[in-house]
């Protein structure tokens, strides 16, 4: 326990301005809603999830991570044509998970970021599909080649995006 505390004490907690956080979130939601109109393949990108993961991993606070995930998810639900709460639940869990992991591990390395993004993308899909099956009684796949492609694409995009977002740190 002492070693764990020692490790955790060496993990740096990053802070962001309110405007930086919500500005990027707003931009991500806007792009998520707009890009697929012009580039259909852009729908493979999950920009709101990437924002949730990034701020969760960086701020390393589970409470703020889950609240940010919930807000982003509910906003994403609001601009989608699905019942409000489906993305909200999935991203709440992802925000909580990312910030919990961020509090224990140093995830500044690009490979770690890619790996975590890949894993969280599938975890997000599993939670989303499970919720949809359970509550809406709709058939939603847990895994597919498109999802695999999407997870790889998002992981690669996260490697490029996260360093840019690092520049917003206070």
């Amino acid at each position: 326990m002492a070693l764990r505390n020692q490790v955790e004490q060496h993990i740096e907690v990053h802070k962001y301005s309110f405007l930086a956080v919500w500005g990027t979130v707003f931009l991500a939601l806007l792009l998520q809603a707009s890009l697929p109109v012009y580039f259909p393949r852009a729908s493979l990108l999950e920009l709101p999830l990437l924002m949730t993961l990034y701020f969760g991993l960086s701020r390393r606070n589970p409470s703020s991570g889950l609240l940010l995930g919930m807000t982003v998810g509910l906003l994403q639900d609001a601009v989608s044509r699905i019942p409000i709460g489906l993305y909200g639940i999935a991203k709440t869990l992802m925000g909580f998970g990312a910030s919990s992991i961020g509090a224990r591990l140093d995830v500044e390395h690009p490979f770690a970021r890619a790996l975590l993004t890949f894993a969280f993308f599938h975890a997000h899909q599993i939670v989303f599909a499970f919720t949809r099956r359970l509550l809406l009684q709709e058939s939603e796949v847990f895994f597919s080649t498109d999802l695999l492609t999407g997870s790889l694409l998002n992981a690669a995009f996260a490697v490029l995006l996260f360093p840019l977002l690092d520049k917003l740190r206070k």
Binding site: M1, N5, P62, S63, L66, P83, I84, G85, F96, Q137
Partner: protein, 294 residues
Amino acid sequence: MLYVVSTKHRSLALLGITLLVQVLLLAVQIRRSEDGRGDVRLIRVWAVAAVSPFQRAGAWAVDNVSGAWDSYIGLQNTHQKNQQLQAENAQLKLRNQELESRAAEGMRLAALLQFQSGHSETQMVAARVIGAGAVGGANRIIYINRGEAHGLRRNLPVITPDGVVGKTLEVFADTAQVLLLSDKESGVGALFADSRTQGVARGQGEPWLLLDYVINGEQVLPGQRIVTSGQDRIFPKDLPVGEVLDTAPGAPFQKIRVRPAARLDRLEEVLVLLSNKEFTPIAAAGKEPAPPAQ
């Protein structure tokens, strides 16, 4: 350390709350079709599913408690209640009998009234039978609640809408004695309604009468109607006397048994004709005579 644990628990609690809120939010929005009975909001389905076991348990408990109460504790006064109910039942039976009796009386009086109003040309007095004397013996008499004060005198015809009953014997101030047709000393001039063959119907001290003075050659069949002939100067003509029960040859006249038209064994109200003036026959065509008295 305490701070870490506290923060961790707080985060988990917050996670649980946010997830619960969102699940409820979804349940409010989602509609589900339940057994084809239309869409029902999922939250309503859940609410019912959550509440109904407690309701069932509550209902079960109430049923059992009330059942136990009714089956055991509540039986304390059952015997007393049973006795009360039996007494009440007996009273109601009595009341029912009384009402039935009144209804029957009402029907009889209505028949008398109808008869009386149908023969308004003849003076008659309605009377109630208040007593009987020597029933089962040779003398068959009844007492009625009308007497001299009501215009009655000896030898007046007493009838019912069904037929001849007898005649007044002794008349007192407010009561009178009536000699029934079935008495041994009673007789009435009679004739067959169809053949008009005459005879005399005599009482025998039995429920049936004997039609005398009909010669052996006269064809008599059971069921033939006998009416008054008016020859005795007491009974008006054509009042129903009875119908032939059976016949046997005799010397010198046939022995014809007649079943009285009036129910002599169950008289309650009668009519006393104040004159023997003839009037329209009482019995309508095809009217069934009374069964033989016991």
